[in-house]
Symmetry: C3
Subunit: 461 residues, 3 copies
């Protein structure tokens, strides 16, 4: 006897309760910061003889919008590759993200430091909220097609909380650097999701196997997601780095890393494909690994050719992971990773953390000059040596993996309760279970008939 | 006997005449403003010892581009949900918008004040022209599938003129605030379109009923439009507010309003759906109502939780409108509103106007500080009390509704003449009437055969 | 006996060799410029008492991102119009562009002047690299469906080199102006591609004719490309013009040119279509000709109405070219131009060059004031008269055509060797030759059956 999948009770209740809690907490805890508050900003203008043009809005908002596109179009459409799960992919992505960005505002605000008991928000908190949301969407990728929206919202509640905690440990306690989130976003999101997928293992998923694949047009929709993620990844990695050379350099490193990664992906995909043929799954995903792999080191003096080498390696690892590792993980480890987030976010995230640790440990005043203050403030202040910074980066990776694994197990078991309207093994990867799905397009022949009878005459008149 | 639908005479003639008139009027009336004119800007630089970096281009153009994407991709793809009207949806949207933005430059330039008999244009006039265009596209949504491009161009001629008049009355005479256009754009566009749809009522539209619905992939194309509108709505509402805290705050208010609106939409859609199933029409449309509803108050000190409450309410009203009100409006009021613009733009627009009026009437110097000058210059100058501002906002809503209703009736009757190549009731919602529509994709089997005969050998060599 | 089409050896080898060469050359030759290097920028800040907000990143990066979208989404999706070539269109576009932007960094860096033996890179070099890439993608459009990715990569190697040479001759030796690339990008890319297509003429292409056309949804995917190109063309033409009035004015001229072009395209398409029906090919392509045609003169004082007149002319020429010229070119000149790049980039590019030459020759100090220094530095410095500038613009067009024709012939013969896994005449325009193509979507009936048996009960519970 399968549990009910009807959402009528569970989804409205979950959404309304969560949103009401959010509104109340925002009412009590959240205030405009000094750049969004009318009174405070005008006081600032007067006191510092400053200009409206120096409001940080103008120096962060274009980056924010690019990140926003990655979250909603990039992740949303990347997951539409399944033949009968396009509605759920793009719309559940939409729902979870809309919830997570609100909840992240509170959780991150709490950890980033309250101001007189209040959380202050502006464009930078919006970017951080979108970042945290990205991590949840990565986990969603591992679970795609096998969970109800209620489960996903509940996962977001816990994952955002853990994300903010982990981020706080890394950035504030360990003083690690991770502007593009190789560790905080990608490694955490991927391994958290993989562990949840392991706990939610579905032994009879084979019965939905025929729907766990793409069709021609669904692969094209997915490419919309891929290309947007690829194009805007330089904005993602640079969105919260220091102003000036830091943002500028991060963008360039990411740009070249991704370009090299793309060539590696095509090379490897053809090399391992049957008859030398390319596989859309590789192009859609592995070509992005170069962005993940410079998430930590992108703001550092990685050099353009260093970025390209890292990107090339990331694309290679990721493509080979899709081909050889994913099947093994499913069979041996019982991890059913729908989107292969281990290959796109997991391994490249770890690579990114390692590259970051190595690059940090090689930082010298000779290379960074006074720019050291922005990239490694603790080294600049003489509190750490470069090698200590490197060690702290490495510890951060270990902490992130630990948080993801422990958190994933606990949350996985919470999500396993049969009360969230989840789908049975036999009807996974299927929109019709949660959506009113329209019929197919009228066949051309029928239309032809209609046209010849009704239209031809007036058309030719 | 149905009138002819052949466009050969009517469409080229309309396009060429309109464009020639536009070019002549631009030649006579339009000049670069002091930020786009080579001589004037360099004179300004010299006289004020100013920097090229202070050209307003850098502080408005990113917002403009986001608005531009909403107009052409957002509106255009949102309307591709119909199974056999994708070409017309995206391409007529393209045509009308390309015309309307030129015509709006003239109409708004005329009302915004001439400079020595000339209209001065720059990035701000471009944003305003795109805004006015948005209003026409909202009306198009009510008429989608039932009108020829000639009718739509003609409607744009009149609607742009009325829009500019209404905008002038609201912003210049009544001194109302409406930066995101809850009244000027959404309420006006929706009710104008609904009245036109009423006048153009098609009693036999049932005969095209089988095409007035979506198919699986057309709903995904529509989601491209939805997501872009949703993501960039913060840019829309903030595009022409004052620089500094005003733009920054408007963006944040809109961001949170939309997020809350999305949760409300999913909740309500599942609550009222058969078997608790979600309806794509709701997600595509009602999730956007939160942007409309903070169009007026977004720049005010609405507070983040206030924005969320308004967004939540807007999503609820809008979804319930699709479910319960639209069928009644069609049956009882004979308003055939193809895209349900009453639910997405009409009711949320009125809600936005009311929220704006209330928020304005509560404005105090205590809360706004010197920022009052940017948001409510008349209150700041002591010309109005806050409550008078609120009253003026409320009057503006009434004026807008009046202009839309009277204008819609007149324009509706003009568009009813049988000389514009409009479609008969029996062939509405059908691209083939105006487009050369390609055949369907070759079936996989045929290709399989081709492949096995011709390709396999060379491929395996 | 057809040559093998298996990519297993050729594609991985080409990608890996090219990328390894790129990484080595970048290691030896490429450095961060003074705005992306941590040490140099902070030295600059100190020495000039400058602000991070004045890093050129903030004044070029939004334009760069728009250009980036045009290259990867615009060109990529515009070419998905073919029914069975969507994977190759968007993904080969992706591959070639990812390679070309790296190679262009080196080639343009070499010609733009080395700094102590090093190429300095920053956001401006990234824009230039994307521009050069655009030229290669235009040539790809002429060859679409008839070449292997190996051939395309090889073409990019040569074309980027020739592009950089031609650009150097035009901009540095002849001191011509061409900010939006009417000559350097569009004319060069189009005629180079057309000559290559001529050399690669396939006499038996008729055998693949049934696939050289669109289906309903592939035309909608192509419209994504069209609309993005159309919206962001103002950013393209203005991306590397001087700051201030120049960027601002270029954006406006392009905006109005494109709007007028769109009306002309709809008018002409309906005028020449069977039964007055519109043709998607025209809308997808000719509506963009207005952007090409103001690529040279966009930064000049062309006036808004002048831009509109040029756009109107470009749309007319381009649409008529698709209808009447393309068939003739294929039959008489044996040029098989898949995307009709002659109509979208070739003729409008020449028109743009001529408009640029005329507008330059009419430049007066009276009109430009001190802004003359930015637009025509040589006229401002008294080195040229306006008419000499015009003559140099005209010579530049001739040089461009000559480079394209001679280069195209040579490269065409190199690409003709039967060693690049190119497709036979009988299987052109077909993804299955290079891709693992998924099956079709399950029919609705099957799903219906599955649902009624398995789902209905739990759903209604």
């Amino acid at each position: 006897m399968t549990p009910p999948t009807n959402l009528r009770l569970t989804l409205p209740l979950t959404c309304v309760i969560l949103e009401v809690i959010l509104i109340i907490l925002f009412a009590v805890l959240v205030e405009y910061d000094h750049e969004t508050d009318a009174k405070l900003w005008h006081k600032h203008l007067l006191q510092h003889n400053d200009s409206n043009y120096n409001n940080d809005f103008y120096y962060r908002y274009p980056s924010f919008q690019d990140v926003h596109v990655m979250i909603f179009v990039g992740f949303g459409f990347l997951m539409t590759f399944l033949q009968r799960y396009g509605f759920s992919s793009v719309a559940f992505n939409f729902l979870i993200a809309a919830f997570a960005l609100q909840w992240a505002t509170l959780m991150q605000g709490f950890f980033h430091g309250m101001h007189g008991g209040k959380i202050h928000i502006g464009v930078e908190s919006m970017i951080n909220a979108d970042f945290c949301t990205g991590s949840v969407l990565i986990s969603f990728g591992a679970l795609l097609g096998k969970t109800s929206p209620v489960q996903l919202l509940l996962m977001a509640v816990f994952e955002v909380t853990l994300f903010a905690t982990n981020e706080y440990i890394l950035l504030s306690i360990l003083q690690a650097k991770d502007a593009g989130g190789s560790m905080t976003i990608h490694t955490f999101g991927a391994y958290f999701g993989l562990v949840v997928a392991r706990v939610l293992y579905r032994p009879q998923l084979d019965k939905s196997k025929h729907k766990n694949c793409s069709v021609y047009h669904s692969d094209l929709f997915a490419m919309i997601g891929t290309i947007y993620l690829w194009m805007f990844w330089p904005s993602f990695n640079s969105a919260i780095t220091a102003h000036g050379d830091d943002q500028h350099r991060t963008v360039m490193n990411t740009y070249y890393s991704l370009a090299a990664c793309t060539l590696a992906t095509f090379a490897m995909s053809s090399l391992v494909g049957p008859g030398g043929k390319l596989d859309m799954v590789h192009i859609q995903n592995a070509a992005l690994a170069g962005g993940v792999a410079v998430g930590t080191a992108g703001e550092m003096m990685l050099t353009p050719f260093g970025s390209m080498a890292v990107g090339f390696l990331a694309g290679t690892i990721s493509t080979l992971g899709y081909k050889f590792l994913s099947p093994v993980m499913e069979k041996k480890l019982k991890i059913q990773d729908t989107c292969g987030v281990h290959n796109l976010h997991g391994m490249p995230g770890i690579l990114g953390a390692v590259v970051g640790a190595v690059t940090a440990s090689l930082a010298t005043r000779e290379v960074y000059g006074d720019g050291m203050e922005d990239v490694f403030p603790e080294i600049y202040a003489g509190n750490f040596s470069a090698s200590e910074q490197g060690v702290r980066q490495a510890i951060s990776l270990a902490v992130t993996l630990g948080m993801a694994l422990v958190g994933g197990v606990i949350v996985g078991f919470i999500l396993k309760l049969p009360i969230y309207s989840g789908p049975p093994d036999t009807i996974c990867f299927e929109d019709a279970i949660y959506w009113e799905v329209p019929g197919e397009m009228e066949s051309q022949e029928e239309l032809g008939t209609v046209m010849s009878e009704e239209v031809q005459k007036p058309l030719n008149s």
